[in-house]
């Protein structure tokens, strides 16, 4: 009886000490702190607009959480965004595909790019970081080769609904992101696929000996990563109304930053979708809040860097205490 009570108390304490909880508390403090400094920050209009702006990174950060939980990494996502954007524009404008087909093509190329990453990592056994650095340059090169410096513009108006429209006042792409968050959250928390991801990250060898489909699950994680990068490209093209081969440059770092800030261990085995979402929101609102308060761009990225380091320090000191 007492033993159960103590363990329950301990687990409650653990919930409070969890990285995500601390981060959520920090987020609330930061929100109200910045809100005090600037009366334009905590407005529905601004917050929804920030939701619109963070969707592209958010869509990439979700499967990135999966990939990092398995102990891998995918730095080619930004290049896949560029490639998918170009495939969309090129197949529509130059090959004359109807736009819906071009959209499917673009998502297909994204998934294929992710599949190629996963294939090289699982079958040829090249480490994820090396594979994706290589494919980063390959995909970006393809994007530039196919586009030949031509940006594609003049999409039909209905296409802009995804990136600029609203549904009941909520930006369309934010709804897409919310749905994706639920899907990825459930997949990680409630399915054997999710549990396999953790198992791979904790001890890949043990997972293999337990007859878990290690390679198939990893392949799926990287393919998902490519697919949502394609989705992110669609949102981006729709928001800015044009296609360029340099789109998505540097997205990989923003997405990884959100995942790591959200408490996912870069060594694999632990992490949550909710943590990633908090990390994502935190970075976006810090950037926005600081900008509205009059902090300049270069100072803002310094603050983000400090927040990242601080949060990782807190997380690692907590983990040490738990052991």
């Amino acid at each position: 009886m007492t033993a159960v009570a103590t363990s329950r108390r301990a687990s409650r304490a653990r919930v409070f000490l969890r990285h995500e909880t601390i981060l959520a508390a920090m987020l609330v403090v930061a929100l109200f702190g910045l809100g005090l400094f600037n009366d334009r920050f905590l407005t529905v209009d601004n917050l929804l607009n920030q939701g619109r702006l963070m969707t592209e990174i958010g869509l990439i950060a979700l499967p990135m959480t999966f990939v990092i939980i398995t102990g891998g990494i995918d730095v080619s996502v930004g290049a896949i965004v560029g490639l998918c954007a170009i495939v969309l524009g090129y197949s529509w404008k130059n090959l004359g595909f109807p736009l819906p087909l071009a959209v499917v093509c673009s998502l297909g190329v994204g998934a294929a790019a992710g599949f190629a990453n996963g294939f090289i990592i699982t079958r040829i056994k090249v480490p994820a970081i090396i594979t994706t650095i290589a494919t980063l340059t390959l995909f970006r090169g393809l994007a530039e080769g196919i586009s030949q410096a031509h940006s594609v513009r003049g999409y039909p108006d209905w296409f802009y609904f995804l990136g600029q429209g609203d549904v009941f006042g909520v930006p369309t792409q934010l709804l897409v992101l919310l749905i994706a968050i639920v899907v990825f959250g459930v997949a990680l928390d409630r399915t054997s696929f999710g549990r396999t991801l953790y198992a791979i990250g904790s001890n890949e060898m043990a997972a293999r000996f337990s007859a878990l489909p290690v390679d198939r699950v990893k392949l799926a994680a990287y393919t998902l990563s490519g697919l949502t990068s394609g989705l992110s490209a669609l949102v981006l093209v729709s928001r800015v109304t044009t296609t360029r081969s340099d789109m998505g440059m540097g997205y990989e770092l923003d997405a990884i930053a959100a995942v790591v800030l959200g408490g996912t261990s870069i060594f694999g085995g632990s992490g949550t979708i909710w943590g990633t979402v908090i990390g994502l929101v935190m970075i976006q609102l810090l950037k926005n809040g600081l900008a509205l308060t009059g902090v300049k761009g270069d100072a803002t990225i310094m603050v983000i860097g400090v927040v990242l380091i601080a949060s990782v320090l807190i997380a690692s000191s907590l983990q040490r205490r738990r052991v």
Binding site: A116, S151, G297
Partner: protein, 371 residues
């Protein structure tokens, strides 16, 4: 089986990429506009037909004529000499006017999505006017239109947006004028039959793409014997520009007689690459750059001509135009605007204001400039 499929797919994609690069057409400036090369001699261009105002309009902008306004300047990126100079011009003009609070803020890399976020944040924070230099003319349009719809005045300089997304644009020099100055300088220094390479920012950056298109048109018309070897992208990145220039030098060897730098970063990097390769005097470096960055190379006789306008004047003019718009002194249909110490500047192309002809800095005059 799967691996065969994959190899097949990869081969198909590669074939597609190669196919497109082989059939690369003439440069279109990434904006589908026609080129208009100037005459080969120095004769003045025929006056262009007057075009009606095609800019946008700030909706229900509050009347702040003569009152203090806050203006934010969002250049392509911050922290480089060129935009420091435009920023200084803006600050100078704001000080001279006395009723403007101006500040410059922007991304540290020339990335369009970052730039959009900056502008978006300043719309939310509620400024009276936005000055911008676009990283992409079309991508920046929605956010600028949003600013106009909230009654914020929008004036561009250096790199334009689509005309209806801003009220006015300060054109630092007409594209064909720059193209002529560049090509003529190259022909003079490297010879009429020279082969050259180009280092640019990205193939779709508005100004650079347009200049290259105009250079191609002007070159075909006036210097037909020159050989165009290759154009490479180097963002606006110092190290990358140096590496790309070095690659061109190594790749083409003695064939390469000239190097164009299309950005204020690429030109000094190209000059440095030529210096390091000990090719000074054998490879002519011509490009757009700020004088301070080029002084060592000009004094070492490695670079003879640097083409540019005065970016301080450009920022200065942008600020004056912004004030004139707010005060109601510059309206659709006007043909000129008063720009303080620069005097009257002319309206061209409907809603653009022309700063003047390009300027060529050389050993004789470069020390008179400090930016």
């Amino acid at each position: 089986m799967r691996s065969y499929l994959l190899t097949g797919a990869a081969a198909a994609v590669l074939a597609l990429a190669m196919n497109t690069s082989a059939s690369a057409a003439a440069w279109d400036g990434a904006d589908d506009l026609a080129t208009s090369p100037l005459a080969c001699d120095a004769s003045a261009p025929a006056a262009a037909a007057a075009k009606p105002y095609d800019g946008g309009k700030a909706v229900n902008a509050p009347d702040k004529a003569g009152k203090e306004i806050s203006v934010v300047d969002v250049p392509k990126l911050i922290g480089i000499g060129y935009f420091n100079a435009t920023s200084k011009g803006i600050a100078d003009a704001a000080k001279e006017l006395g009723n403007v609070k101006a500040k410059t803020d922007g991304p540290t890399e020339a990335k369009i999505d970052e730039q959009i976020k900056f502008i978006d944040n300043y719309i939310t924070s509620g400024v009276d006017g936005i000055l911008f230099a676009a990283n992409d003319p079309v991508a920046i349009a929605p956010v600028l239109k949003k600013a106009l719809s909230k009654g914020i005045h929008v004036v561009g300089y250096d790199a334009n947006s689509t005309p209806d997304a801003r009220e006015w644009f300060i054109n630092q020099a007409e594209f064909n004028g720059i193209a002529k100055a560049m090509m003529d300088s190259m022909a003079k220094e490297a010879g009429e039959d020279a082969a050259f390479g180009i280092v640019t920012s990205t193939f779709t950056t508005p100004n650079q793409a347009r200049w290259i298109a105009e250079m191609q048109a002007y070159g075909a018309k006036c210097h037909p014997k020159m050989t165009w070897l290759e154009t490479v992208e180097a963002q606006e990145d110092n190290v990358l520009s140096f590496n790309q220039s070095t690659t061109l030098i190594n790749k083409y060897g003695d064939k390469l007689k000239g190097l164009f730098g299309m950005t204020s970063v690429a030109t000094p990097a190209g000059a440095e690459a030529v210096t390091k390769a000990k090719e000074c005097g054998k490879i002519a470096v011509i490009g757009l750059a700020t004088p301070n960055a080029m002084k060592p190379y000009v004094h070492a006789d490695c670079v003879k001509s640097v083409v540019l306008w005065n970016p301080i004047d450009l920022g200065y003019a942008a600020m004056y135009v912004m004030r004139a718009v707010v005060d109601g002194k510059l309206k659709a249909g006007d043909t000129s605007v008063d720009a303080g110490k620069l005097g009257k500047l002319n309206v061209v192309n409907g809603s653009e204001i022309l700063l003047g002809a390009p300027f060529i800095y050389d050993k004789g005059n470069i020390d008179k400039f400090d930016f």
